[in-house]
Amino acid sequence: MAAYCRSCSVIMQKVNCLGACHPFKSQSLLLHYIRRGFGTSTICRALNPVQNKNLRAGKQKVSINHDKPLTYEQTQPPNMIGVSKSWNSWNSGSLNGEREKNAAQIVFEDIFIRKFMYGTWHNLFANEVIIKRRYNQIIIAGLIEQRNHNTIYFLIGYTEELLSFLLKCPVKIEIQTVADKKDMIFRYI
């Protein structure tokens, strides 16, 4: 018997059924829901080996000399979200009863925040912008390269103030620094 996961378009098959290949295929649909939990970033899909081979979206291309640097985030394909890497947006939008209410609004705001951060903190972020929502609070986390303090203090205050006005809720920036962006390199492909 196959069951259908509404939140991520996964067709769950029982173990004795052939055909489907999914990271959670040995687990129940309920457990799958629990593991999926929060987050609205990329869609997780069930694939058989042939489909998996032909899937190219979200996968990094291997360079000729195998010297293309990748972060940990980039090495994991989208179908491994929830398995070996977690979501970049953490909110309750995918929960039962929440989807119809404010999931679209959350996705729209997240895109806006990412665009805003890309422009305002240009060339500073060493990783993806991580957006967490707790009640009506939005927390923007990430790793940046070290710059002089005044610049960062200004940017934090400016971003928090402006985004709070634009999104009409408290916005907090929780950033940390890395010495060098090269420290983010996980492997070369």
């Binding site: 000399n65 010297d67 293309k68 640097p69 990748l70 972060t71 940990y72 985030e73 090495t75 994991q76 491994m80 398995v83 070996s84 890497k85 977690s86 979501w87 970049n88 953490w90 909110n91 309750s92 939008g93 929960l95 009863g97 929440e98 209410k101 404010n102 609004q105 959350i106 060339n123 972020f125 060493a126 990783n127 993806e128 991580i130 967490k132 929502r133 707790r134 009640y135 009506n136 927390i139 986390a141 990430g142 790793l143 390269e145 070290q146 999104l167 009409k168 809720c169 929780e174 940390q176 620094t177 890395v178 010495a179 060098d180 962006k181 090269k182 420290d183 983010m184 996980f186 492997r187």
Partner: protein, 387 residues
Amino acid sequence: MSAISLRSWLSCRLRKLFGDNHFGCIYNRPYLTSTNLQNVQENTDRKYVKYEDEIVEKETEKFRVFEIPGLKRVQKERWIQYKKREFEAQPRFKQMLPDQDWTKIWPGPATFKWSVVPFPVRQGFIPRPTIGDGVPPGKYANTELIKIPNFLHLTPAHIQQHCQAIKKFCTPWPAGLESDQKCHKHFPLEVVTQDYCFSGSSVRDARARSVTVQFKLSDLDFDYHARDKFIRLVGPRYNKNTDEVTLTADRCPLKTQNYDFIVYLLTALYHESWTVELWEKEKTLDDMEKYFWDLNASRKTILKLLKQIHTIEKNLKLSSNVKALPYMPENPSEENVLALKEVQSYKEAVTDLFNEDETKKNLKKYKEAVRTLLNIPTKNISISQRQ
């Protein structure tokens, strides 16, 4: 490998790494050429790159010759930052004491900070040990640890401090409510409501309006008719096995309104149950919700049978020692016979057989009741006779 070839190899690598826009950290730094090796050698200690544009030789004194741009190769001298950037200061966890107060360092919920958390922690997946460092990525520059929620603000020390802080608001448990039975006795109504937490700009949730009230039917003061009518009125909301009634309301937009409605509903149901309508008296034997021995033919039959045995016995004038029914009184009036213990137990057995299932227990009970009623002796079969 000589120094020059090593450096040119390095420059080639770096250009591939950071020259294009493939990677998030873009260092649009110029690459190394063999001409400026000497300069690099001298400036290895420099932390930041000094970018110099083309150095055009100033030959002011000579006659200026027009040079077609791009025709002659212009040598460029550039610096390269080949040394990694380093931190200005030590991370905080390196300055921490082993006996520090963690609650001061991590007072509330916060994103994981590699520079503050003093213990080693790793998160990540490596499919093969040849990938990465051979072990899951550590806490430094680890995005996965930033994403996940942590409980570093809820250590036992934190909880203890929270408890200490709210202790002054605590009152002792009220006397007389020690056990669940006592609680149930004083508070028979159980009200269930839900609140919803979610990420959004509003705290309102339409699902939070519904209210459920549960109570035991035995807590209400009823006679048989009122109880039966109440059960008929509430229908499937009554659970026969647990004797519980569950009333749910979500018709009003607010929680309080729904609660008020349920209280009103309960009051109305209770008083309606006690009223007896005129048409309720037209209830016949077929309308009965269960078997009543007193209204059925079984009662008449038993009375008739016992009376008949008594009459025959009287007419035969047997000696008093061998009475067919020793329990029969001298005056076998209807009240006297019905009050008999044997008849009562028979009544109970027949009622159980009709109202409950024909279980082994009920059948046995019926058998015993009939035996006692008709004074049929139990056969005492010894083991030797059986064989």
